[in-house]
Subunit: 151 residues, 2 copies
């Protein structure tokens, strides 16, 4: 790909399913194929949260494929004077599109969104391997993530 | 306090502000006093998410004080076949009520709620100091938490 090409970040649209959005998520974790109906239902559900749950994508306008994505949702708290926290999740860049700072663009877009929503902080969990990348984006390690799986 | 006393976990109610709920959160982090109006607005906002954002408390029915709390909200994803993830936040037990397994009760309540909502996993972030406690609750360390503060 051409590193000089400008890649803009935009909100996920319902047509992005046909542009490889699910296949891109499959590069991140387990993600079987999703039917059009399931996709549309989940899309509308997330959409109903408005600016409180944003999924963004980068589309390669030459191939028409979605090549990067990430999401942020806004948690409402009582602490910090009824503060808000942005949670970044599901950041992935197409393995064929690495090295073009697309991940950084996604993180900046999501971080700016959380800031504009009045959050006092944004948090995310990542592997130790990806820690240096997030440090370049202005993040610092703070706590450890604990998990319990049901399936 | 009497360790034999039974402490039940229930959902946060609007009257809990007058039972020391905000003062309890102040043991966790920065939390200035919140006006009744601010509290009610945030309470209704969180309540509007229904089972997708649950705050639970333990009230000491002898003192009438809230002595433990925690929250969980359900994130809707596309990956894992349009899966859901529970995020546990803001777990705190009154410093005068430690050693009675109240924290464990809160975590079990929130974890069960996420399970009943169909989540494939529950996650939370904690300090290294609290890691052993969450391991006793069935959680395992997975990733690291990164944070960016705006204020």
């Amino acid at each position: 790909m051409d590193a000089e090409h400008k890649f803009g970040v935009r909100k996920l649209e319902i047509l992005d399913k046909s542009k490889g959005f699910i296949e891109l998520l499959q590069q991140l974790t387990i993600c079987d194929s999703v039917s059009d109906k399931e996709f549309e239902e989940r899309f509308q559900e997330i959409n109903s949260y408005g600016d409180n749950h944003l999924i963004c994508v980068i589309e390669d306008d030459r191939s028409g494929k979605i090549i990067a994505t990430g999401s942020v949702f806004i948690e409402k708290k009582f602490l910090r004077n009824c503060g808000k926290v942005g949670h970044i999740e599901d950041v992935v860049v197409d393995s064929a599109a690495r090295g073009m700072q697309l991940g950084k663009k996604i993180i900046e877009f999501l971080t700016d969104h959380a800031h504009s929503m009045g959050c006092y902080k944004v948090i995310l969990d990542c592997s130790l391997e990806n820690k240096a990348f997030y440090e370049k984006c202005g993040y610092k390690q703070k706590e450890v993530q604990m998990v319990k799986y049901f399936m």
